[in-house]
Symmetry: C2
Subunit: 248 residues, 2 copies
């Protein structure tokens, strides 16, 4: 540990990514409702890999390759017609994904991921794996950039709250916080005792309710139910293998 | 007043402006430290007009026209060499600006203003004129977009807190709030009893302190010391004349 603090920054929406030093940072991609939650759950449940792709057509193209991959496509909160599933975490249970490779495209999460590919390392965060993720982050010497996927480049509260939760766990002893990190942390402190209640007042929550996925939402707010940290490796999200080695 | 609520949205940085319906909204430009505070103060103190320009060269060009305008240019928190003054509110007292036209370029405030020119109307907000501004906004039937100038397209807390203060005053009875508005309002509620103390923890505050402008900062957090609402009219910021006519 050097005397100089590491930088912890929050990118509130992917539209702001050009303002940050992606190359010099570990990027945590955050799309709480529901992409990164489902990715964490799927990797925990033994999925061999999850391949994030930007377009529905790219996902479709894997079908013709006959590799036996599961194809998952979500747009505007719904499963795209003709696909196995979208980004509901209940599609990523062990009986469905264990040993499988999944090709996934979502409205916001995979978009944020592709904009971050120049990072030193890209990992995936959700409330499910937050403590495991933060313990690993603390062992790393790089600056950290928390990238909120938002909703179509707009700011959203659920991703910001999660960023605040991470900042809260990492603390200020070894990290500097930019204004967005301070804001996210303070909002998280307001909301932490009733995340679900706090998020109920948001427009996104209303939209998700109309989609009939309240069960998904509740699931996405479970804390510390998984340990796996998905990491991008050669274009695929796989389980980070050096966690134990580096874990303090 | 129709049954349908008006939309109140917060654009957290100018980089996010393309996501919003500028054309359909009244835009409030916010650059608390210090451009919009100084503009409010200058217009209150009898400045005939303040002409916002994007570039230092445009500001310089007015010198050669020999119109007797005051030229104000700020970059990175400092007065640009060779100019009468920058954006310190203490340069906008009545003895300096009464009856004068000022040409102004700043790092963030005038940038946000120029990106918003397609709005139905552009007005200028600061803590100095907040109640007067909000009383007028309430009389308007259009949606409202609060545009935080930020710092070089980055999110900052002081502009966000002001947006939250406006949202707090406008309330939710006749306005819907997007996620950014909810966040800004909650942050304002946290900070409102000690704005200065709250902002001391920000990086921007540290930068401004290094510039030796703590007196300016304290001034910019004075609430309701002015009544004038600067409005953009034909490329110039002038005093909104129909305030009393429309005021409830």
């Amino acid at each position: 540990m050097t005397a100089e603090k590491k930088k912890l920054k929050v990118c509130l929406t992917p539209a702001l990514l050009p303002l940050f030093d992606i190359e010099g940072s570990i990027v945590v991609v955050i799309d709480i409702f529901r992409a990164t939650t489902s990715i964490c759950y799927g990797i925990e449940n033994g999925a061999e890999a999850i391949i994030p792709v930007s377009k529905v057509e790219e996902c479709e193209a894997y079908r013709e390759m006959g590799l036996g991959y599961l194809l998952a496509a979500e747009r505007d909160g719904k499963v795209v017609e003709g696909f196995d599933f979208g980004n509901s975490p209940f599609s990523y249970t062990a009986d469905k994904v264990n040993g499988k490779t999944i090709v996934l495209t979502t409205t916001n999460g995979t978009h944020a991921l592709h904009l971050s590919t120049k990072a030193k390392r890209i990992v995936i965060g959700s409330f499910l794996n937050i403590t495991s993720l933060c313990n690993w982050l603390k062992t790393q010497s790089e600056d950290i950039l928390l990238v909120c996927a938002g909703w179509k480049n707009n700011f959203n509260l659920e991703d910001t709250l999660f960023a605040g939760a991470v900042a809260d766990k990492l603390g200020t002893t070894t990290y500097t916080h930019d204004d967005a990190t301070i804001a996210a942390t303070d909002l998280y402190h307001l909301a932490q005792n009733d995340l679900d209640g706090y998020l109920k007042k948001t427009s996104h929550s209303e939209r998700l309710k109309q989609l009939g996925i309240e069960k998904d939402i509740a699931f996405c707010l479970n804390v510390d139910t998984t340990k796996a940290i998905p990491v991008l490796d050669g274009g695929k999200l796989v389980k980070l293998r050096d966690v134990n080695r580096h874990q303090q």
